[in-house]
Symmetry: C2
Subunit: 571 residues, 2 copies
């Protein structure tokens, strides 16, 4: 275990100053911090070749006030018009606001902002109050060829919110953030797209008090960004929650959606299933604001039964054993866990060294021959009916044992659950000292998993002093995802970007998908045509042209739809 | 129970004469028959006001040879070209063959054919040997504006195969009917679209013998048409099998598809999940041959564990109790049954009278106060892991009991399973005596179910001497399907059609979907635009135009895409 002593770096303890760059790029609540532990610092020193000296002075903190001399390029008559639609209080041309709503949480955005560098911003931010506002704005923008950028939670990690062509940003979360109806008979909820995860979940958990419902419910969707992402964002970018193995991905939860598009408005069919031609409901999921604006969503909800939740963790002797057991779990038809995570040996070892295990457990692992650099940690939860969760946990345990795993009790899974949303908060601290942590994810069929894991690791580890931790956390009968976390020091954003783009290249070369659950945005856009193939890309463009003939919806590279050929990658 | 005595009608016992109309419309194996029992005959006499006299002479049997004086309108040079592509043995202009491949199993097709009346037929039938053939044919047809009609199993009940504009029919089942690869690691199978259900299932069941696989598998998809439908048809028409509550609908099984379209060829991504924009895989499912030709499909497969299958049947005191219990089953998160069917009181009563129950059971039901015209039968199976099926059956049983149901053992479900594919074989026998049996299905959310059931029943039962039986057999957390079976005597096809179309009108008026699992074809096409709305229909048309700009793919009303405005219904 990394030592818990040494010099504690002076982490930034203060909320970002109002109006500063940092107030824009800091992840999560401005008041909340999660500083790296001393174990973290010692790991970084050991593996990134850093010394106390490197932790003496914070660099690129982005504490200075945003100083933008960019006037809105919208004509006064346009601004007048928006003011007339929404009221003066719901529009702004203030440069800070325009920057704030132009940024997501992509690592390179943070790196740039911390250096006071700003990309494209829109010319006006508007806060629609309801779908009628959205409709009026959209009609006007379409008639006047003004680009529109929907902004909801702002947690995009794929440059999905950058207003490349200027125009108007729609801040969907300000007003359009309510749960509209809860239908207990159908077990569905209809919400506005700007509703944040915790507000949605709280409303469902408290259904009896708030809606005189008979039961409590849960949304079943808990991405790591849960606290700072919205229901609309989950659907628009094809999200997947940490309990997706049981509840399904965001796409599986959507019953119906209402869209306002330049070519017309519609609500997709809300039947439980329907055989009436290709389903529009599916055609819109993942369109990332390029077809129109999502203004209402009906989703499946589930019974909230936290008392039935069961936790487990195991140590597998090897990554191969952990993968084989996971595959058997996903194909074994004995029910599914909600959370299920397997860490590769590097992630396992670092996890143990950073977060530790009770020492008798460590001793036991040693005695039983679970070797560091070989062994793989697994943890998870089971949800649902009381009797079934008992049986499913029992089956998972028996299965793991048959692959040589040692049951480690509930501790690991419970500890993970407590900290699962706050980990990203360390990244600004690390960035302050020139350390970059970032992640990339992919999905892959079982038969290509090891080649992909090894191939991508080989690339990342080929860079000196670079940490690479990998886990699989979403399980399907035909495969899983792989989530790569890498940490290193990069001389510049450009150097970082080059390395990062190389990972994307390698993921695809090794048989992984371009994105499992982070969407595409503008970051993955250059690969889209090669990844999907010309014909499929052409079909997406045909839909785009149909819904948005003037290309006002999130133009400038999103999904690669209007990306100039010279910006495409063909690896 | 209807008496089992009386005069037995002279059912047609002979296989249809070669070349006859009947050889085209008879459902299933020409050698196989399932004649209505005497209980059936007595029920029809009682409820349709028929006498022995009505069963004396068979009418409209369609035994005469097909006598078609329709020359192929294709130019000799075209025919020459197809002959060059496929070989002379794989093309035909024979009128009988052209009619055979122009017909599905829609009831009104049977009624017309039994009277020697023929609708549109294509000008040439071709039997592609592989996807290269399909590609060559498609390119040639596109260049020459020749319509193409894919024909696979031929079991369409929505006029989905009718070559309204003449041209070429592709008989996909003749050669393109093989299982290409079985991937045990990913638990997927890749098949050609023309593979029939039983061949596919047999190949999977016998995987160890045929593919040296470690396990046996099942496809999990068992529609009533299973024996006479193909994998391609299941996907193209958004099918759903009788065990869908556990295995999912056809759309849920599809991992990836390969299409040849006039605008280009492609294979959709085969990752377990992918967040790279709207999924082409979903855009193609349900396109019913209007976008291109499906030439290869990869599907999830499941472990074949027939020994773990558990059967159950119950009697519920009322339809409402059966529905409430089913809803709780679908939302209760304790696992799902594979087959689950609840019959409304009319179907329950007729089922008991036609097929019977052991008399001690009848006595018990009476003693316990389960009233005819109120009570509702439920039957089903549980599949999957041995321990889990035991628990799930136990939970279903306890749940049913809490809604006042009486457990009736395994008998009903096992009996149903034995006869589930052969019921449609009675329809020609009934047609011989001027009796028409037909079905329509819809899906509906739980909160609209009773209004829909009552509304549609009111319409059907408003016609004198008409039987209406209803069941729900596919369960989702937000709702279910309703399957209406109606039986009556109709003076003419026109009178039948008018009544039938009235049912479709009422299904939609009462809040049901236009189709749950039979697709759209040309039968539902007139309602499509009103059902989906102008905007969504326009989006489907945009895709159609993209893939098939010359409208050569299944033109003439399919999905309502090119239906003239005057043929649309606006109910």
């Amino acid at each position: 275990m990394f030592k818990r002593k040494g010099v504690r770096p002076q982490w930034q303890e203060k909320p970002p100053p109002a109006g500063s760059y940092r107030s824009i790029f800091k992840y999560g609540d401005p008041q909340k911090f999660k500083h790296p532990s001393l174990s973290w610092v010692n790991m970084l020193k050991a593996d990134l070749g850093m010394t106390d000296e490197d932790f003496k002075a914070r660099i690129h903190e982005g504490l200075s006030p945003v100083d933008l001399k960019r006037n809105s390029r919208l004509l006064p008559e346009h601004i007048e018009k928006f003011s007339g639609i929404l009221g003066r209080e719901n529009i702004t041309t203030d440069a800070y606001e325009r920057l704030k709503y132009a940024c997501g949480k992509t690592t390179e955005e943070m790196m740039e902002l911390s250096r006071g560098r700003v990309g494209e911003i829109s010319d006006l931010v508007v806060h629609p109050r309801h779908k009628e506002d959205v409709r009026d704005i959209l009609r006007y923008c379409n008639d006047n060829y003004i680009p529109i950028y929907p902004f909801s939670g702002g947690s995009s990690v794929t440059l999905g919110l950058r207003p490349e062509k200027g125009g108007v940003t729609l801040a969907m979360g300000t007003h359009m953030n309510r749960l509209l109806t809860l239908n207990e008979t159908n077990q569905t909820a209809t919400v506005q797209p700007g509703m944040m995860g915790p507000a949605f979940e709280a409303a469902l958990n408290q259904a009896p008090e708030r809606f005189m419902a008979k039961r409590r419910y849960t949304c079943g969707h808990f991405p790591q960004s849960f606290e700072y992402s919205t229901v609309g964002g989950w659907v628009a970018a094809f999200g997947s929650g940490q309990a997706s193995t049981y509840y399904g991905d965001a796409a599986d939860l959507v019953i119906s959606q209402e869209y306002i598009t330049p070519s017309g408005d519609f609500k997709t069919l809300d039947y439980p299933a329907t055989a009436t031609g290709p389903r529009l409901n599916h055609m819109m999921i993942g369109s990332e604001g390029t077809f129109g604006v999502l203004v209402e969503i009906s989703l499946k909800i589930f019974r909230y039964q936290p008392d039935n939740r069961r936790y487990f963790s195991f140590m597998f002797p090897t990554w191969h054993a952990a993968v084989d057991s996971a595959r058997e779990m996903a194909q074994g038809e004995f029910g599914r866990p909600a959370v299920y995570r397997i860490s590769d040996p590097e992630e396992t070892e670092r996890g143990l060294q950073l977060y530790g295990l009770p020492s008798p457990v460590n001793a036991l692992l040693k005695r039983r021959g679970f070797k560091p650099t070989k062994r793989s940690l697994c943890l998870g939860t089971v949800e649902g009916d009381r009797d079934v969760t008992r049986l499913v946990k029992h089956k998972i345990r028996r299965l793991a044992k048959s692959y040589g795993a040692l049951y480690l009790g509930e501790y690991g899974a419970k500890k993970w659950e407590k900290t699962r949303y706050t980990e990203p908060m360390m990244r600004e601290d690390l960035n302050d000292y020139g350390i970059t942590i970032d992640t990339l994810e992919t999905s892959v069929s079982w038969d290509r998993l090891h080649a992909l894991h090894q191939g991508v690791r080989r690339y990342i580890k080929g860079r000196p002093q670079t940490i690479c931790m990998t886990h699989a956390s979403h399980f399907y009968s035909s495969g899983t995802n792989l989530y790569f976390i890498f940490i290193g020091r990069f001389e510049s954003t450009a150097v970082f970007k080059q390395f990062h783009r190389g990972i994307i290249d390698h993921i695809q070369k090794c048989g992984g998908s371009l994105s499992h659950h982070h969407g595409v945005g503008r970051m993955m856009a250059p690969w889209m045509e090669a990844h999907l193939g010309t014909e499929q890309m052409a079909a997406l463009r045909a839909l785009k042209k149909h819904f948005d003939p003037n290309n006002i919806m999130n133009p400038g590279g999103q999904l690669g739809l209007d990306l100039p050929r010279e910006k495409m990658r063909h690896s």
